[in-house]
């Protein structure tokens, strides 16, 4: 028996060693330093890269932090940079590109990326700036048992159906505030505006310029959609972000939610909630608005970038290590941690919402240098409208004015 287990252990170690050996880790003895956010999918990619290539490198560190966006620019600015790779999303890619801190990856993709899908490559004028590995978006969460109790048989697909279902739940006396969504003042409320604004067909800026373009009938329609939702959300909604809404959902205090796809797996697992909630939660595409066909959601990807201010050999070793993790084997091992964009992904129930939203043609979060100040202005100025203190036009005019101010100081507007 003992001998057998030793043989098995040796076999497993040997297998792992051969796997590690099989990965192409690029130049030997280099330094690989990765910075990424602290959630399971990023642990999976960076962790696999480390297992594959640690032996090949002189130094191999992986740093996971919350809110990496607050430090990444400062970390990549010195020469040599603090990290050789930062794992980013749409919005943070712009932030790094605005200061010219990452390098084009075309030659590295050619050398090491044969197994990558073309759709994984984030390109700007043909230059590959990042390699995406997972997708995320907001989408609809519903409790089928509560909807059925209120007499709603079909999962709502439009905002009108969502509001109708909420009204029925309230009228039936089941819940006074059946809707949850992340309306916390600041980034979250700005993001909810983006969802509905894009779904109503709006574009944040006049084409080819940094001139704001939100104070129009599409902006007003977006604000009205938000307000209609907020009517059915708990009075504290202006203080609720992902953690609070997830908490309400897991406590069984909500029946319809527009929340992040990355919360799907966390809500559906056995921790923090009752069987009644998890077994009745359905994840589906984000709702469309005003008879349109675009779901009210922004699509996000997470991907790897390589720092500019580092030796070319370190860059090559880092890239090789990270793409060596983007394989069907890694996906098979971590299938439910994310909606993977890599071959071999089998969408489970937790991924249903994001997949359906992407299929229905939701827009990507805008990859524009000055979307940051716009998002910030929206986050601060729209709250007066939701509180009922001012008209939609006034709130949008305020947001445009606040953005214009910031954009002037940043040198985007004259």
């Amino acid at each position: 028996m003992k001998l057998k287990s030793i043989i098995t252990a040796v076999a497993i170690v040997g297998l792992m060693a051969s796997l590690a050996f099989s990965a192409d880790c690029g130049p030997k003895g280099k330094s690989v330093r990765i910075l990424g956010s602290d959630f399971p999918a990023i642990h999976a990619v960076a962790g696999t890269a480390k297992i594959n290539c640690e032996a090949n490198a002189n130094e191999f560190t992986v740093t996971h932090k919350d809110d990496t966006r607050l430090i990444m620019n400062a970390a990549l600015k010195p020469n040599p940079a603090e990290y050789t790779s930062v794992i980013v999303a749409n919005s943070t890619l712009t932030q790094l590109m605005n200061e010219d801190l990452i390098r084009p990856l075309n030659d590295l993709v050619e050398k090491y990326g044969a197994h990558l899908k073309p759709s994984q490559l984030i390109t700007l004028d043909g230059k590959v700036m990042a390699v995406a590995f997972m997708a995320n978006s907001q989408h609809l969460f519903t409790r089928k048992d509560i909807l059925a109790k209120a007499g709603v048989t079909k999962t709502p697909a439009t905002l009108e159906e969502v509001l109708d279902a909420a009204e029925k739940i309230r009228a039936a006396g089941i819940m006074e505030y059946p809707i949850v969504t992340n309306l916390k003042v600041g980034w979250n409320i700005g993001e909810v505006f983006n969802l509905f604004f894009l779904a109503h067909g709006g574009t944040h800026f006049k084409p080819g310029s940094a001139v704001p373009n939100i104070n129009n009938e599409k902006g007003v329609a977006a604000l009205n959609s938000m307000k209609a939702l907020a009517e059915y959300a708990h009075p504290d909604h202006l203080t609720q972000a992902s953690n609070e809404t997830q908490g309400l959902w897991e406590a069984g205090k909500a029946a319809i939610g527009i929340m992040w796809g990355s919360r799907g797996a966390v809500i559906l697992d056995e921790e923090g909630s009752s069987k009644e909630v998890t077994s009745n939660t359905v994840l589906s595409a984000a709702p469309t608005v005003g008879g349109g066909s675009i779901p009210a959601a922004t699509l996000w990807w997470d991907g790897i970038t390589i720092a500019k201010n580092i030796p070319d050999d370190d860059a090559e070793a880092t890239f090789a290590a990270l793409v060596s993790a983007m394989t069907p084997e890694m996906v098979a091992e971590h299938n439910d941690d994310a909606v993977w964009l890599i071959d071999g992904f089998k969408p489970g129930p937790a991924a249903a919402g994001v997949s359906a939203t992407a299929r229905a043609g939701a827009a990507s979060y805008p990859l524009i240098p000055y979307i940051g100040p716009m998002h910030e202005a929206l986050g601060v100025e729209l709250v007066d409208f939701l509180k009922g203190n001012e008209s939609a036009e006034q709130a949008l005019a305020d947001a445009e004015a606040a953005y214009t101010n910031a954009a002037k100081e940043k040198g985007f507007l004259k």
């Binding site: 990444m72 080819g208 940051g372 910030e376």
Partner: protein, 343 residues
């Protein structure tokens, strides 16, 4: 003292003050007069997993050239101070011309971020400061009259609010006033109103933040007053007693006048502290209803990808000016007292 001796005596202090106080303020002031260079923008095509679109990017080489020539950015004079995010001269003037009646004008002005923040900051300062002064004195007198055995433990417990990290204290209160929290749920029961929410209403949020401020700062004024009470001259007190003064009269005519220098000191510190109120607003997620100058600076600097150094510099300078204006009456009073005693 000879001039030479005085110079060498004061030199270390002077150096430290220039290095740690004057230079940073001058540098912030210079920063506040500048804004970033114009970015050279180019239209390009971007592709991601969800499709390709036309977008705009920054022409890095052209922008880097500009930055190298003038690393401070473009000179903008006092325009950052007068723009909409700060003093908003143009917008206030516009509101004055177009609005009919004072209420409409004020409504327009308080819609501007700087004035909205100023209103809350001043209300907070002028409510919290007197409350902390009076309650602090009351607690100090109470503790001073306790039997010796209880004094130590009571002082320790009374100091706890100050030991708690402000952000942690505010977060704790945030969850307590939640509809499911112990305070929130109790209030709902008392007023028999299940939709009562301390977080959703503006006035209630203000009350929560102000209550938190009083709770947090009370130990400071308490401990200073308590120390002061140990120095009250016993013979004056005894003669007052012999003259038949009641406890209350002793308090008003002997103890409070004796503690007056401490009142000035505590007022100074409290005014400075309260004018830059920050943690309770963040911790209580109260940004929807309350804002302060420090919160504005925080928002301007928070994102490392796009900090607005000029705007943050301008708001900081105005905070310094605001504190100076608030302190002026107290300082003038101290100066007068000092002169009177000198003669």
């Amino acid at each position: 003292m000879k001039h030479r001796t005085f110079f060498w005596f004061i030199l270390p202090t002077l150096t430290a003050m220039v290095l740690f106080i004057a230079l940073p303020i001058v540098s912030v002031f210079i920063q506040s007069l500048h804004i970033e260079h114009e970015h050279v923008l180019v239209v390009s095509k971007s592709c991601d997993p969800f499709g390709c679109i036309e977008t705009t990017t920054i022409d890095q080489e052209a922008t880097a050239q500009l930055r190298k020539e003038k690393p401070l950015g473009r000179f903008n004079g006092f325009k950052t101070y007068t723009n909409r995010s700060h003093l908003a001269f143009a917008e206030v003037g516009e509101a004055w011309r177009t609005s009919d009646g004072l209420p409409a004008f004020l409504n327009d002005v308080f819609n501007l971020p700087f004035y909205r923040a100023l209103v809350f900051t001043l209300t907070y300062t002028f409510v919290v400061t007197p409350f902390v002064l009076i309650l602090g004195l009351a607690v100090a007198v109470g503790v001073n009259n306790l039997p010796k055995l209880f004094k130590g433990p009571t002082i320790f417990v009374s100091l706890l609010p100050m030991i708690v990290t402000p952000l942690v204290g505010a977060l704790t209160l945030f969850w307590m006033v939640d509809g499911d929290g112990v305070i929130g749920a109790t209030l709902q029961r008392i007023f028999n109103d299940p939709s009562l929410s301390l977080k959703a209403s503006g006035p209630l949020t203000w009350i929560t933040v102000i209550t938190y401020g009083i709770w947090h700062l009370l130990p400071f004024s308490f401990i200073v007053f308590y120390a002061g009470l140990q120095t009250v001259p016993m013979d004056t007190l005894e003669s007052a007693m012999i003259d038949g003064a009641s406890k209350w009269e002793q308090m008003i005519h002997v103890i409070v006048p004796h503690l007056m220098p401490l009142v000035t000191f505590i007022t100074l510190i409290l005014l400075m502290d309260n004018f830059r109120v920050f943690e309770p607003i963040i911790g209580l997620s109260a940004e929807a209803h309350a804002s302060s100058l420090s919160v504005i600076i925080f928002n301007e600097l928070r994102e490392s990808g796009r900090p607005l150094f000029g705007a943050a510099g301008a708001t900081s300078m105005m905070t310094i000016i605001g504190v100076a204006i608030l302190l002026t009456p107290v300082l003038i009073r101290t100066w007068r007292d000092f002169n009177r005693k000198g003669h």
